[in-house]
């Protein structure tokens, strides 16, 4: 037997390159994680653990990149960055997506520098190496180069797929297959909203000074929802609570919530829309929580009175009072699907203490701004809420940097945070094993 040859693309990978004792140290941190408590500081502040996250989570799993509305036509592309990775997600002529590493095979320049656009072939801005949409190098001026073989320098490819209009990418050579099952869970919830017939009303990019896990943790609980006055108008602040956990000041809201939920469920049954909660945050590889839940007020959308924010229904939906179909998908996204608009949230880690949070508001593609919707009103609630959440995340990030920080207990209403962290720890440990 010949000596094992390291595959080319494994060069520079952390697990194989970390000194043994550092690796042992990291493994120990994961192993001795105290259940039910927030993570130790290095998980939020340490550059080596961030690298491990990029490798074990973002380098292994299906991650959310964007939606069909961002690249509706052949040649449309977006570029997305996850830590050190930069990917081009491009709509090809067959209607599928090509995912390419945005790293020129000449000297490594970013091939596409815009966040979004449309292109035919891909031309590197440095020395104009030109790649086909499939990533093949089709032109490089090579005066006097006798032995230059273009076939050896294609852009590296990654996996891409689309489910119910959402686009996911996977950098791993062999993507986890469990995502198929997860997509079968969420597809029927989302399909009636028909993302392929939506357009971007607004996209917001904010950089939060916080580790990507803090962003996701914050999203998994409504313990802090008192801090969201705008959101509390339409989202029941009892979210995540169960009978017996309701504080006195929320009892009235709880009753209203129950009533709204049962009338929503009746509507869903009438129209054949699924609404049951599926909660598999740490019981499967592609962790998910999805449900259709009622909204307060008129129950139509995220507005102060719960009224619709866009007058055009999505897809073939028959009714505006469909609450919100909400999905949380690990590792980096969550979504609210209403009858009149959809909001997608993607978390794109930058480094251990910074994350890009991209929020995109989608409306029916025949809705006309100023006629069918008012952009300010459409985006108001979640723009405010995002800013508040950014502040919360940043408070925690600063805290984790203090020598006085020590993990604290997740409360009962924060069980989903614990589940997310448990999922994360399991995935990294699997990778280290």
């Amino acid at each position: 037997m010949s000596a094992p040859v390291l595959p080319l693309n494994s060069r520079g990978k952390l697990a194989s390159s970390l000194p043994a004792e550092q690796l042992a140290e990291i493994s120990a941190l994961f192993e001795f994680r105290r259940k039910g408590y927030s993570l130790d500081a290095p998980f939020y502040t340490d550059a080596t653990i961030f690298k491990m996250d990029m490798e074990a989570i973002f380098g292994q799993h299906w991650i959310f990149a964007g939606s069909v509305a961002e690249l509706p036509e052949p040649g449309d592309y977006i570029t997305v960055d996850y830590g050190p990775y930069s990917l081009i997600v491009l709509r090809n002529d067959d209607g599928g997506v090509n995912v390419l590493h945005n790293v020129c095979r000449h000297r490594g320049a970013r091939v596409l520098t815009e966040a979004a656009g449309a292109t035919g072939n891909l031309v590197c801005g440095y020395h104009s190496w030109t790649y086909s949409p499939e990533g093949n190098l089709i032109h490089a001026s090579a005066p006097g180069e006798a032995k230059f073989d273009k076939n050896c320098f294609a852009l590296k490819r990654a996996h891409g797929r689309e489910v119910a209009g959402l686009i996911f990418v996977c950098i791993a050579d062999e993507p986890p297959t469990d995502f198929d099952e997860t997509s079968r869970i969420f597809e029927p919830y989302l399909a009636p909203h028909d993302l392929s017939k939506t357009k971007i009303a607004y996209q917001q990019n904010i950089i939060e000074e916080g580790n990507w896990k803090l962003v996701m943790e914050n999203n998994r609980e409504c313990y802090h929802c008192d801090g969201h006055p705008e959101l509390a108008c339409s989202l029941f602040p009892t979210w995540g609570l169960t009978e017996g956990l309701i504080p006195a000041h929320l009892e009235e809201v709880w009753d209203r919530n129950k009533e709204a939920q049962s009338s929503l469920e009746e509507r869903c049954r009438r129209y054949g829309l699924p609404y049951e909660v599926v909660e598999e945050l740490d019981t499967r590889i592609a962790g998910i929580r999805i449900s259709r839940e009622s909204l307060d007020g008129e129950g139509e959308s995220f507005s102060a009175d719960g009224r619709r924010l866009s007058k055009k229904l999505l897809g073939d939906l028959p009714d505006f009072r469909l609450g919100r179909c909400s999905m949380h998908l690990q590792p980096n996204s969550w979504f609210h699907f209403q009858s009149d608009h959809v909001i997608t949230f993607g978390v794109f880690p930058i480094n251990e203490h910074q994350s890009l949070v991209r929020t995109t508001w989608l409306v029916a593609d025949d809705a006309v701004e100023g006629v069918d919707y008012d952009l300010e009103k459409l985006t108001y609630t979640w723009k405010q809420t995002n800013l508040q959440d950014k502040a919360f995340v940043e408070l925690c990030q600063t805290g984790a940097g203090s020598p006085a920080y020590e993990p604290g207990p997740y409360m009962k209403s924060e069980y989903q945070v614990e589940a997310f962290i448990n999922w994360y720890v399991q995935r990294v440990q699997e990778h280290l094993a």
């Binding site: 036509e73 052949p74 040649g75 449309a118 292109t119 035919g120 072939n121 031309v123 104009s128 030109t130 086909s132 949409p133 089709i138 032109h139 001026s141 017939k197 009438r270 129209y271 008129e298 139509e300 009224r307 619709r308 007058k311 055009k312 229904l313 073939d316 939906l317 028959p318 009714d319 505006f320 009072r321 009858s339 029916a364 593609d365 025949d366 006309v368 006629v371």
Partner: protein, 469 residues
């Protein structure tokens, strides 16, 4: 036999998505044959003469009068609109009485059109109409008028049509129109009448409802005594009744027509069941002073437009068919600056190949063509064709066999170029007029070509050209 038929399982038809009026595509098209069909596009009111060709008695004291235009043209209108008719009630030499009547026929059968008039014994005009209008009667009309009508295209045609009494006439036009069109729709009609023999069109409605699964019709007998065998609903409009016939009312567009009291109740109830104000469309058959004034204003505007157009026709019959009058936008709010077609998401497929769209960078290429005068430019090179480079301000002569890039660059036109093989796209420019033959290799997208762009490194000119470079 009947038994057998009712038990036969009939499969649902396969339909295109949404509803689109037949004139919708024609309106945006400039192709020759389509422009003839444009006469069917209801884009402005006109004054015209019409001849009665048939009268059809209806139940409920109503009478339908079928007309055709004396000039033989079809009457273009939208389902729900009305015409204003001059009735010579006091004889031919006296001032006529003008009255507006909803069109009850479908615009998809445009060669004749119907108005349905309910006889009001105390009125001045309707008894006269019933008495005097016969086949052969010619009347002066103005129309179509009115903003109460179905949209030209609707991807999710989900309607709740509410009618009380004679308010059924525009609703009938809508039902007939939808029934005559292919496409997905979901229509609930709730028709209130005072007496069971008072539901005009009931046989046709029953027929349509029985053969068209998209359309359901409910009758309610107001608050009068009901005959023993009455199978419809009873009582005035209530939230419970709305909920019963259309539990998803809040996701529908509502068109309601009837007496003012009925419509006021409807507005309130619809609000209660969650229908958005902007989804409620109403036509008042009787109204308070305010409503009457609004109708007068609508009519006055229609008269202005009709006159303006008549003048335009007199000036130039050709121009008349080329453009739409400025007042059109005002009259028909469904058409915004971007055009109704874009707004509805059912874009036209025909575009004028000679008018390049605005290019991606926002410069309005098409409109700029004539601004600088290419005839004053210096001309260089030899060849049978002339390329005018508008930004550089030079004319370059080329042969039809040579790629455009070389001669252009030699003449000092600044065009970046890298691969010179049609792959990299770096030489992309916009052509303002003329034809090229291009042999590219992926450096340009079909939709960029549609927008008038081309790659001069791999293109030869087929005609003289004007280029934005």
């Amino acid at each position: 036999m009947t038994e057998l038929l009712t038990e036969t399982i009939v499969q649902e038809p396969h339909r295109i998505r949404g509803l689109e009026m037949p004139w919708n595509r024609v309106m945006g098209s400039t192709e020759g044959p389509a422009s003839a069909a444009r006469a069917l596009g209801p884009w402005h009111p006109q004054e015209f003469m019409a001849e009665c060709v048939e009268i059809v008695p209806e139940v409920g004291g109503m009478m339908t009068f079928v007309f055709r235009r004396c000039d033989g043209a079809p009457l273009a209108f939208r389902a729900g609109q009305y015409v204003n008719v001059a009735f010579p009630v006091n004889g031919e030499d006296q001032d006529p009485a003008d009255r507006s009547y909803s069109l009850s026929s479908a615009p998809t059968k445009p060669w004749t059109f119907d108005i349905t008039v309910k006889r009001d014994p105390t009125g001045l005009v309707s008894p006269w109409v019933h008495q005097n209008i016969k086949p052969g009667t010619v009347l002066e009309m103005l129309g179509p008028v009115g903003a109460f009508h179905l949209p030209d295209a609707d991807r999710r045609a989900r309607y709740l049509l509410l009618a009380a009494g004679a308010g059924i006439t525009p609703i009938m036009s809508m039902v007939r129109t939808i029934h005559s069109l292919p496409g997905q729709a979901d229509v609930v009609v709730l028709y209130h009448g005072a007496a069971d023999e008072g539901f005009a069109f009931n046989k046709e409605l029953a027929y349509i409802a029985s053969v068209d699964s998209r359309i359901r019709v409910f009758y309610s007998l107001g608050d009068r005594a009901k005959p023993a065998d009455w199978e419809g609903l009873s009582g005035r409009l209530t939230a419970a009744m709305l909920n019963e016939v259309a539990p998803d009312a809040n996701g529908r567009q509502v068109y309601a027509c009837g007496p003012e009291g009925y419509l006021n109740t409807a507005t309130e109830l619809l609000g209660n069941v969650g229908v958005d104000d902007t989804s409620i469309h109403m036509e008042f058959f009787t109204g308070d002073r305010q409503t009457i004034l609004e109708y007068q204003a609508e009519l006055a505007l229609a008269v202005d437009i009709a006159e303006e157009i008549a003048e335009e026709i007199a000036d130039s019959a050709e121009d008349y068919y080329e453009g739409q009058p400025a007042a059109f936008g005002l009259y028909e709010p469904g058409y915004d600056a971007e055009g109704t077609l874009q707004a509805t998401g059912m874009p036209l497929e025909t575009v004028d190949p000679d008018a390049p769209e605005a290019s991606d960078d926002g410069s309005d290429a098409g409109a700029e063509v004539s601004t600088p005068d290419a005839s004053s430019f210096e001309t260089v090179g030899t060849g049978s064709l002339t390329l005018s480079f508008m930004r550089t301000g030079i004319n370059v002569r080329v042969d039809p066999t040579e790629h455009i890039l070389g001669p252009a660059q030699r003449a000092g036109v600044r065009i970046g170029a890298n691969c010179k093989e049609g792959m990299c796209g770096s030489c992309k420019v916009v052509k303002l007029s003329g034809e090229v033959e291009m042999n590219h290799q992926g450096g340009i997208r079909a939709r960029e070509i549609d927008a008038g762009k081309f790659l001069p490194c791999c293109s030869t000119a087929r005609t003289d050209m004007v280029i934005d470079a």
